[in-house]
């Protein structure tokens, strides 16, 4: 390869994309991806929304946010432990590419999965329940930022030692499910006590729901700029922590 000069950043981007494509091809249809990424958010939504006196159209932003949250954060915890178990993750570690590019590749796989699945509630809301998208830019920002952040969150959890998706999904769900209760999914943030509002502000899911509501003409508590800022901070934090955990793993290996 000595005669082939290619820029380092371009090379890293191409390898990250190759990793993402491979993950899409091999892991999207795996049962844990379907169960935790698709069935889980839809089942949770149905179990909490059926019987409530709230119009479905108003609940669509919650379903969109839950779908983005669960689908994006499920791919990393399925892919990385499976690859650790059959040692294919070592292929990345021994290839001439940075750890960041590897994890970005894994994150992209989660992002595309989350974006693809979240189209279902958006189309369902618009076609069948009269939901209206009043700010398409906010919706796209919400979807892109949230999928990157939540996918990076899944990668961060998957960076902890473990060789089966179950080992990662369990601690991840210990975090994901309680977040539903403080993020304005079932109780609006404005109706939470002050300590609950602080907790709500710290939850990344709150800002996804708020941005989705804002994009569909609803009201927000923190405002879209705060939502975008906090989601951006979480994305950077999750990626940084994911890399740190992997470096720690390599020292323990």
């Amino acid at each position: 390869m000595s005669g082939i000069h290619r820029s380092r950043i371009g090379r890293e981007a191409r390898v990250a994309w190759a990793i993402a494509l491979k993950d899409m091809l091999t892991y999207y249809t795996r049962p844990p991806s379907i169960m935790f990424g698709v069935l889980f958010p839809f089942s949770l939504f149905l179990s909490f929304s059926i019987g409530r006196n709230v119009p479905i159209a108003q609940q669509i932003p919650v379903l969109i946010a839950q779908t983005l949250f669960f689908a994006s954060s499920s791919i990393g915890p399925v892919v990385i432990p499976s690859e650790r178990a059959n040692q294919t993750f070592d292929r990345f570690l021994t290839s001439p590419v940075s750890l960041l590019a590897i994890l970005v590749g894994k994150t992209i796989a989660g992002v595309i999965f989350g974006l693809g699945i979240s189209v279902i509630p958006i189309l369902t809301g618009v076609i069948f329940f009269g939901s209206q998208i009043s700010n398409i830019g906010a919706l796209i920002t919400c979807m892109v930022l949230s999928t990157i952040g939540f996918s990076a969150m899944g990668i961060m959890f998957a960076s902890m030692p473990g060789q089966s998706p179950g080992n990662v999904m369990m601690p991840l769900n210990f975090v994901r499910i309680p977040l539903l209760f403080i993020s304005g999914v079932y109780t609006p943030v404005s109706e939470l006590p002050s300590w609950g509002q602080v907790g709500s502000m710290l939850s990344p899911l709150t800002h996804t729901i708020e941005l989705a509501r804002y994009a569909m003409g609803g009201e927000t508590f923190f405002g879209p700029l705060v939502n975008i800022l906090i989601l951006t901070i979480y994305t950077a934090l999750f990626l940084f922590m994911g890399i740190r955990f992997h470096v720690m793993n390599q020292k323990k290996e």
Binding site: R14, D90, P96, E253
Partner: protein, 343 residues
């Protein structure tokens, strides 16, 4: 002008610790370019841990490792561009076809598409898998997966290839194909770093071997020189047409015999003085009216060196063993790479 480094692999004080356990303890070694270097040791000696540090999977606690002159910790990308790795299990993507496995590997090395396709085709033909390139690897036999794994390691035209137990658990045909391929790759200029449990394989294939035990390098030398360092492990092998019950005990009592090991229908008498033992065995047979079926002198094998240095007997055939002044115990493993001279 590109300056070639002196060594393909240069390891200095490489150390790995897991808590209080020192898995690899300040090892030093240098592998010459275009050399087949064998890395032998019992289970848990630190072979795979060493390979994992050399290939960048694991971070050492201390020490340095250079691959073609590049420090694996500080010039990681450059060092990894020089190597291909075949781990102890075939870590192929079972869900992908043979072709896609190679193409994906090419993408990891950022090879241009036309180049990676021509290389994949070349390797699949070389390994006899081109006709099955479209099939998912999960349907392949263990030997075929191993060949795919080696082909993946060769995609980037590496200078060094790390092979961790490449023939372990394979059928005879696959073993022969892979050994032949390793020799061919070496003849083409590739440096091979080979870990194996198979001492016969190391003896036949390697230019030099290192024996690692309890995380420390016990010795590094050519297989033949290593055998010469343990001249005391020369032996006389004898089989009688009918073997008396107390033969092991009696043979153990002959002059200059250190240890007697029963190997199948034969006895192996370890000695530093084979000629005296040959005469003594002849005398013993004459005085007891025993007909000698075969009698050979046997030089020390690499396995004998391994046993002497590590104190661990490889899991091969075992029989009764008698040392001077002792009863029967566990036998020494069957010799490998033996230099014989019929008497």
């Amino acid at each position: 002008m590109v300056v070639q480094p002196e060594y393909a692999i240069q390891v200095s004080n490489l150390t790995k610790k897991y808590g209080d356990l020192v898995a690899v303890d300040h090892i030093n070694l240098a592998v010459n370019q275009r050399e087949i270097f064998g890395f032998l040791g019992p289970n848990g000696a630190g072979k795979t841990t060493t390979i994992r540090m050399l290939t960048g999977i694991s971070t050492p606690a201390e020490g340095t490792a250079k691959i073609m002159g590049y420090d694996i910790q500080h010039q990681t990308i450059e060092a990894k561009e020089q190597m291909g790795i075949v781990p102890d299990i075939s870590n192929v993507y079972n869900e992908l076809s043979a072709w896609d496995n190679l193409i994906f590997t090419g993408k990891l090395y950022d090879m241009p598409s036309d180049y990676r396709e021509s290389r994949a085709e070349e390797l699949l033909k070389l390994f006899g898998l081109y006709e099955r390139r479209g099939e998912k690897v999960q349907g392949f036999s263990r030997g075929m997966k191993r060949r795919i794994c080696i082909a993946m390691a060769l995609m980037n035209r590496a200078s060094i290839i790390f092979l961790d137990e490449p023939t372990s658990g394979l059928d005879v045909q696959s073993v022969l194909i892979i050994r032949d391929l390793i020799r061919k790759l070496n003849q083409e200029g590739l440096t091979i770093f080979l870990t194996t449990h198979n001492i016969e394989e190391a003896s036949q294939m390697c230019d030099r071997v290192a024996i690692i035990n309890q995380g420390k390098i016990a010795i590094i030398d050519t297989p033949e020189k290593l055998k010469r360092t343990v001249e005391s492990l020369q032996s006389v092998e004898v089989a009688f047409e009918t073997t008396p019950e107390n033969a092991a005990l009696m043979l153990g009592g002959l002059p200059e015999v250190g240890e007697v090991v029963k190997e199948g229908d034969k006895f192996r008498l370890f000695t530093s003085n084979p000629s005296t033992v040959l005469a003594a065995v002849w005398g013993y047979a004459q005085s007891n009216n025993l007909k000698i079926f075969t009698m050979n002198t046997v030089g020390p094998s690499l396995e004998d060196v391994f046993v002497k240095l590590t104190g661990i007997r490889p899991a091969t055939e075992s029989g009764g063993s008698v040392k001077k002044g002792q009863g029967t115990g566990q036998g020494r493993g069957k010799g490998a790479g033996q230099g014989r001279g019929s008497q």
